[in-house]
């Protein structure tokens, strides 16, 4: 291997943004046919580095060598010409166009549609990722959409494939399938840059790894020789923290009940809720697993009260029907809610931490005779900052000056400090660093130990298995029966996530094409 030049070599790559050094002289090298992991927490600089390789951002300093020769990658078109393909974390597909049309748009040289469709069919079957070229993208599941992105890259016969957190939207089964494809590509000589913060995936798939923390390389590793905890140490600089959790109190009274809740989606591409039944008892954490876009958002809007339900008895809190109540009235009955969208929904950008406390906590003595009691709000904010280790200048700082993880800690803290009888949390640790995630999870467990009922919606199976007592799965607007965490496994839940559960939409969406009407 020593006399073959590396496929890609980076020397001293540096990119400085006005407030942060995203990449600080990063060196890295990938051989042909190597699957190379780039491991790091959120905000470590992984994505910036990949974008520099793909020509989306210009590095301030540093050298890129391609097959031993120095190159300047000015734009993605040039990167593609070299043989670099990239699958982005967020899809860039037009929902109203077909698979073929979407792929044709990305081809630099115009292809005739019919022959392109035939090629898509051929290549996708070759790699075990079958696709129907004529299908409209909006009717595809998330897993299939990712396939479109991957096939789009494969059609260009890349020498280097960059995959940015590809598994965050996939079921465990679909992940397995994708890994097979990636291994096959590598055997054919294609190098793969695999970006992730999931340690088990890297241990399973990758030949080598570069670990980045705070924009700097903190180590190079051969995953085969490492363990999850040794990789975690390099990634976060300390041991992976674990939450402590006692046995659940299983005899709590029913706090939240959802009784055959059906609802048409407002959005054309939304998911209709199909006769959902669900209950959460006091003193337990129930998790809703599922790939995003399967009705979680619609269900959460119905639970929070941002959308009303036609039948007021379809949702009850503490036995009282609440389907007709607005979020404020439901909070009076003991609801707390942490939405996935932090800024703009869970918090008001442009307001201070202190004023953001008033948003939902105003009922706790912050308003008297119609006037605000700002000192009460400030005390509350101060307590929230202290209890949840929110890193900020002061309670008077605008909430937008905080990092995503700290905003999440603050919003979650604001809801938990009100000691809700029922707490509904969506994506509690999405994009949050490991330390903050641990604080948030522990806080939820503590609240449950104090007798509150908690409902968590998350795409991260690991997280759900760590904190939940019972799990249900949502798929295409249907909800599965519940199972206790001890009785099930990630594989079983993964299967359910594709709709195969008793009373669910039964077809396996990860391998067959869903046909929807309308």
């Amino acid at each position: 291997m020593s006399n073959i030049p590396p496929r890609l070599q980076l020397k001293g790559m540096t990119k400085v943004y006005p407030t942060v050094i995203a990449n600080d002289s990063i060196d890295m090298s990938i051989a042909p046919g190597e699957i190379h992991a780039v491991l790091g927490e959120n905000g470590a600089g992984k994505s910036t580095l990949m974008k520099a390789i793909y020509g989306v951002v210009k590095p301030d300093r540093g050298q890129i060598m391609w097959d031993g020769e120095v190159v300047t990658i000015q734009n993605p078109a040039y990167a593609r010409k070299l043989g670099i393909g990239m699958v982005f974390q967020h899809f860039s597909l037009f929902e109203t166009l077909t698979v073929t049309e979407n792929i044709a748009l990305a081809m630099d040289d115009y292809k005739e549609m019919d022959s392109l469709a035939a090629r898509i069919k051929k290549v996708s079957e070759e790699y075990g990722l079958p696709l129907d070229p004529g299908q409209l993208v909006h009717s595809l599941s998330v897993g299939l959409r990712q396939r479109v992105e991957i096939i789009r890259c494969l059609l260009q016969q890349p020498q280097l494939l960059i995959m940015d957190e590809p598994t965050s939207v996939l079921t465990p089964q679909a992940v397995r399938k994708m890994f097979e494809t990636l291994r096959r590509l590598a055997q054919e000589g294609c190098s793969i840059l695999y970006i992730s913060h999931k340690l088990d995936e890297i241990l399973e798939l990758c030949h080598s790894a570069t670990i980045i923390r705070g924009g700097k390389v903190t180590g190079y590793a051969t995953p085969a020789d490492e363990t999850a905890s040794s990789l975690a140490r390099m990634m976060i600089g300390k041991e992976l923290p674990v939450c402590s959790r006692e046995k659940p109190v299983m005899d709590g009274e029913e706090c939240l009940a959802v009784n055959s809740l059906s609802k048409k989606a407002d959005d054309q591409f939304g998911t209709d809720l199909q006769s959902i039944n669900l209950s959460v008892n006091c003193g337990e954490i129930v998790g809703i697993a599922g790939i995003s876009g399967n009705g979680q958002q619609e269900l959460l809007y119905a639970l929070s009260g941002e959308h009303y339900s036609d039948d007021k008895g379809s949702i009850t809190i503490d036995g009282k029907p609440v389907g007709h109540l607005n979020p404020d009235q439901r909070r009076d009955l003991g609801l707390g809610f942490v939405p996935a969208e932090r800024l703009g929904r869970g918090a008001v950008p442009g307001m201070s931490l202190s004023n953001n406390a008033i948003l939902t906590a105003h009922r706790h003595g912050m308003v008297g005779k119609g006037l605000l009691k700002l000192d009460r709000a400030a005390d509350f904010a101060q307590k929230c900052i202290a209890d949840f280790a929110v890193k900020c200048g002061s309670k008077k700082d605008p909430i937008t000056s905080l990092s995503g993880g700290n905003i999440q800690k603050y919003i979650t803290g604001r809801e938990i400090l009100q000691v809700p009888k029922l707490l509904v949390v969506s994506q509690p640790t999405w994009g949050v660093d490991v330390g903050a995630a641990n604080i948030i999870r522990q806080a939820m467990i503590d609240l449950r130990n104090d007798g509150s009922a908690i409902l968590v919606v998350s795409e991260e199976l690991d997280e759900l298995f760590e904190i939940c007592d019972r799990l249900v799965v949502i798929a295409e607007g249907w909800i599965s029966p519940s199972v206790t965490v001890d009785e099930t496994s990630k594989e079983a839940i993964g299967l359910w996530m594709s709709g195969m559960f008793p009373g669910g939409p039964t077809e396996d969406k990860s391998t067959t094409d869903p046909k929807k009407t309308g």
Binding site: T19, L359, T360
Partner: protein, 358 residues
């Protein structure tokens, strides 16, 4: 591209408050250039425009008389603007307020009593409120754009006032002129300062600003209004009633404009005319923004805007400047304010001529 515009990593907080001042200075500077292009001596023009109108007690009284409706309407509009409810109809709401208040004055023209003036003010408030409730109703029920509805209703209101002053409300002994009878003393705002026209209405306007300050800065309703304006989804997440906030936003502007209409007819004018406002309802929009939608700022910016009105009049009289000059200054002020506000959040980077990546 020769230059590009990029977001500033940390917008300056201080400049959020100073940008109106910068805008005012730029307006002044541009104004001087315009004066000299018109062949006027710019120092003399500056004096005539900005100093002479207020260099005596009478002038200062005039300044406050002009500022009163502006600060009152500006504060009322700010309530809506903070919630991103765009009431452009204050000019019409002012006209209807004047019509309602004026009707009371005409009906009770032969009577005297302390009750007439308060009744006029209440009637004016009700008139403005009713007129503003039309866009509020259409917005909350049919989701009709309140900007268009309130704007178009201005023309309706002004024509309605004109129609009635040309018809039923015309002074029968007025030799056919389109104007109402002169109001009796009971329907006129008492003068508070000898030798000026400084009347009680100025204090009423200041009270209105204080009420607006409590509402916006201190009350829970004001907080909800602000949340709705900054992040509508956060307001609905918290369960604030958005439709209620739309009503509050539009009606407070309408009420303030209606009262301002009464202050005009029972103050400097003293009767109903087909035209009762030199564009106060529009100028108040600028006043509200220059004042940062904050009642304290609006108080100051209303004085600046009043000075532009007085300066315009003085410029016409002393320098033969065209009547449009007031509008030019108002436009310049708004233009510079928008420009400086934009530059708080963004900066222009000159990158020279080079090929940009696609």
């Amino acid at each position: 591209m020769f230059f590009k515009i990029e977001a500033r990593p940390e917008p300056s907080k201080a400049m959020k408050y100073f940008s109106p001042l910068v805008a005012a200075l730029l307006m002044l500077f541009s104004g001087l250039i315009i004066f000299s292009l018109l062949g006027k001596d710019s120092i003399e023009a500056f004096y005539a425009f900005f100093i002479e109108p207020v260099n005596d007690l009478y002038g200062i009284g005039e300044l406050f008389i002009k500022a009163a409706p502006l600060m009152l309407i500006g504060t009322g509009l700010a309530v809506g603007f903070r919630a991103s409810i765009w009431n452009i109809g204050a000019e019409g709401q002012l006209a209807i307020g004047a019509l309602f208040g004026g009707y009371i004055a005409i009906v009770f023209n032969d009577n005297s009593g302390f009750f007439i003036l308060p009744l006029m003010i209440v009637a004016g408030a009700v008139g403005g409120l009713l007129w503003a409730s039309i866009p509020a109703f259409l917005r909350t029920v049919f989701n009709a754009n309140e900007i268009l509805v309130s704007l178009m209703l201005n023309y309706v209101a002004i024509l309605l006032l004109g129609l009635l002053v040309h018809g039923p409300l015309k002074d029968p002994d007025g030799y056919g002129f389109p104007q109402s009878v002169l109001f009796s003393d009971s329907a006129l705002l008492p003068i508070l300062m000898e030798g000026t026209r400084f009347h009680l209405g100025v204090l009423i306007a200041v009270v209105g600003v204080i009420v607006g300050w409590v509402l916006l800065q201190k009350s829970f309703t004001g907080y909800q209004i602000q949340v709705a304006g900054l992040a509508k989804n956060a307001a609905s997440y918290a369960g604030f009633k958005y439709k209620k906030l739309i009503w509050i936003g539009l009606l407070s502007g309408g009420t303030a404009a209606g009262i301002a209409g009464v202050l005009e007819i029972s103050g400097p004018i003293g009767q109903l005319l087909p035209t009762v406002s030199p564009g106060y309802g529009y100028a108040a929009i600028i006043v509200a923004f220059v004042g940062r939608l904050h009642p304290g700022g609006i108080l100051l910016s209303s004085l600046l805007m009043a000075l532009l009105y007085l300066g315009g009049e003085s410029g016409q009289m002393n320098l033969d400047l065209p009547a449009a000059v007031t509008g030019v200054f108002q436009g310049l002020l708004l233009f510079y304010l928008l420009a400086t506000d934009f530059l708080i959040d963004y900066r222009v980077c000159f990158s020279g001529f080079r090929k940009e990546a696609i």
